[in-house]
């Protein structure tokens, strides 16, 4: 049953060295605070799963925590390349990592199959694409009814999934809205799920019944971390910090600059610092006509 825990404890109780772990979020609600807590606790030999690894996996790979990544787009969205991930793939620095690469459709289907308890996903994909030749986990099956040859990939079943969401109610049910990405599937596919939220409210009685809600019994732990997805955004709470994404390109380009930045902004900080980082982004959101909730 779900427990409300401080983030430090939620991470310590649910993540282990050697785990396969998904910190999911498709450009929105990225669980940065949870990833930073995992970095502070120094986990090793992780298999990092995510459709769009972006900054937090660049940071974890740069800190030498990953032995493998499973992904479909290893870039800084709209900005360019992930320089720490590149250094690991191209030069084996700070350690070599195994790469399992898919398309977005492949990953999305694999998570969905994981959530559905299936061993694999079947879809019309990878036709003529080079990935099928370099990833042994992309295979094909023949439809028993039509004879069509379809792509098959193993389902994704992480040991643990971390996501960030707007709010939980007091019982521990979790609400996600806006760009909902792959988070619901990533939670339901995992053995354990940890959710950081912007706030806890009494109940969801005044909300539209069709909003995306993860029932409390699908989640292991909830931690309240306002601003916990910075520099990503939380729809209805604060805007995206585009400048931080642009700055990351420069920070990550240099091994020493990266280490210094990580010390100052992650190792020597705590989850409580996130609220302050989004203060100016909340105001911008309000000016644009969004009301704080």
């Amino acid at each position: 049953m779900v427990k409300f825990l401080p983030l430090k404890q939620a991470v310590a109780e649910n993540l282990n060295n050697g785990d396969s772990v998904a910190f999911e979020g498709f450009t929105h609600l990225i669980p940065t605070a949870a990833a930073h807590e995992a970095i502070r606790q120094g986990f090793r030999d992780l298999t990092l799963i995510r459709m769009t690894p972006d900054l937090i996996y660049d940071q974890m790979i740069g800190m030498g925590m990953a032995k493998k990544i499973i992904f479909s787009y290893v870039g800084n969205p709209g900005v360019g390349l992930l320089r720490r991930a590149r250094d690991a793939i191209e030069n084996g620095f700070p350690r070599s990592i195994e790469v399992e690469e898919h398309s977005h459709a492949g990953m999305a289907n694999a998570y969905e199959a994981g959530a559905a308890g299936l061993p694999c996903a079947v879809f019309r994909g990878y036709r003529g694409a080079g990935l099928a030749a370099v990833n042994p986990n992309i295979k094909s099956v023949t439809c028993p009814f039509t004879g069509e040859v379809l792509a098959a990939v193993p389902s994704i079943r992480p040991d643990v999934t971390f996501i960030h969401a707007q709010k939980a109610d007091k019982k521990g049910n979790v609400l996600v809205e806006g760009i909902i990405g792959i988070q619901k599937e990533a939670v339901l596919a995992a053995k354990r799920a940890v959710v950081t939220v912007e706030e806890v409210v009494d109940n969801f009685d005044d909300l539209h019944p069709n909003l995306t809600v993860l029932p409390r019994w699908t989640i292991a732990a909830i931690s309240v971390v306002p601003g916990g997805s910075h520099p990503s955004y939380a729809h209805g709470y604060y805007a995206r910090d585009n400048a931080a994404y642009l700055e990351w390109d420069e920070i990550a380009a240099d091994r020493e600059k990266f280490q210094a930045w990580m010390r100052e902004n992650v190792i020597e900080k705590s989850a409580d610092d996130f609220a302050g980082r989004v203060e100016h982004l909340r105001k911008r959101h309000e000016r644009a006509g969004f009301h704080p909730q």
Partner: protein, 264 residues
């Protein structure tokens, strides 16, 4: 800016926007495709349906998104769906008329590489990869490609098939059981290209104003074929230029507005 009053990049974006119609349902990539699609929406195609792979359907952003999942896209969309639904029902379900892609490397048959430069397992440069592109390229009814011409980008042989265009040309798509049309249009900063009906090799059909055949050849890594009847692309109209420049100015102001992030 040339004496023509517009840049090659502006000509490219505007020429691309003209290729889109009001009834199109367009899967939009970030960068030049996104600018072109939104100029189309703000000029001649106000009812065009723009879809970004983050799940936003029928979006109408006031500024161009820095990434495919900016909040602006969701706030202005008709609806927003989960990523698996995006790829299963909408793309794989055959509901996209135009997939609009950019490329790091492109060959003359419209095959695209955005994965690696060099060998896949020992890359010289590891690029971001395909994201949605491998399936966009085969499940959208048609593919438009836009990129600025360089010899490094437009190559005889791409290092990796991130997304399949016409393969080796001719009927290669059909032989793989792919029943969509594939790349039907390439718009660069110098010219408009269409595939030859038989060989499927991209052929220049229109030169942008002031551009010579030699310039097109000098910035392309394969021997360029030109159509017998070569058109000149109409120069951007005042409305088109104003729309594009206003959009880019709004975008620049919005992205600068966040100030310095203390941590990332």
């Amino acid at each position: 800016m040339s004496e023509l009053g517009f840049t090659p990049n502006e000509m490219m974006t505007i020429a691309a926007s003209r290729a889109l119609g009001n009834d199109d349902v367009c899967f939009v990539g970030i960068g030049a495709p996104s600018a072109a699609c939104n100029v189309a929406r703000l000029t001649h195609a106000p009812d065009i349906t723009l879809i970004y792979e983050s799940g936003t359907i029928g979006t109408a952003p006031d500024v161009l998104p820095l990434s495919i999942g900016d909040g602006e896209l969701c706030e202005t969309a008709v609806t927003t769906v989960a990523v698996p639904e995006m790829f299963r029902y909408w793309l794989q379900g055959g509901r996209i008329s135009i997939g609009f892609l950019g490329a790091a490397q492109l060959d003359k048959f419209g095959n695209i590489n955005t994965t690696v430069i060099g060998d896949y397992f020992h890359p010289k440069t590891r690029l971001p990869g395909g994201g949605g592109a491998p399936e966009i390229a085969t499940s959208s009814k048609e593919i438009y490609i836009t990129m600025a011409q360089t010899k490094r980008g437009m190559v005889e042989k791409i290092d990796f098939f991130t997304s399949f265009g016409h393969g080796e040309g001719g009927d290669h798509r059909q032989r793989l059981g792919i029943d969509t049309a594939g790349p039907t249009l390439l718009i660069t900063d110098l010219a408009i290209w269409r595939p030859d009906p038989a060989t499927k090799e991209f052929t220049v059909v229109s030169l942008h104003p002031g551009v010579t055949r030699q310039q097109v050849q000098d910035s392309c890594g394969w021997v360029v074929k030109f159509a017998a009847a070569l058109d000149e692309t109409p120069a951007p109209s005042e409305l088109e230029l104003k729309t594009l420049r206003d959009l880019q100015a709004r975008t620049k102001a919005a992205h600068e507005g966040t100030g310095k992030g203390k941590a990332a």
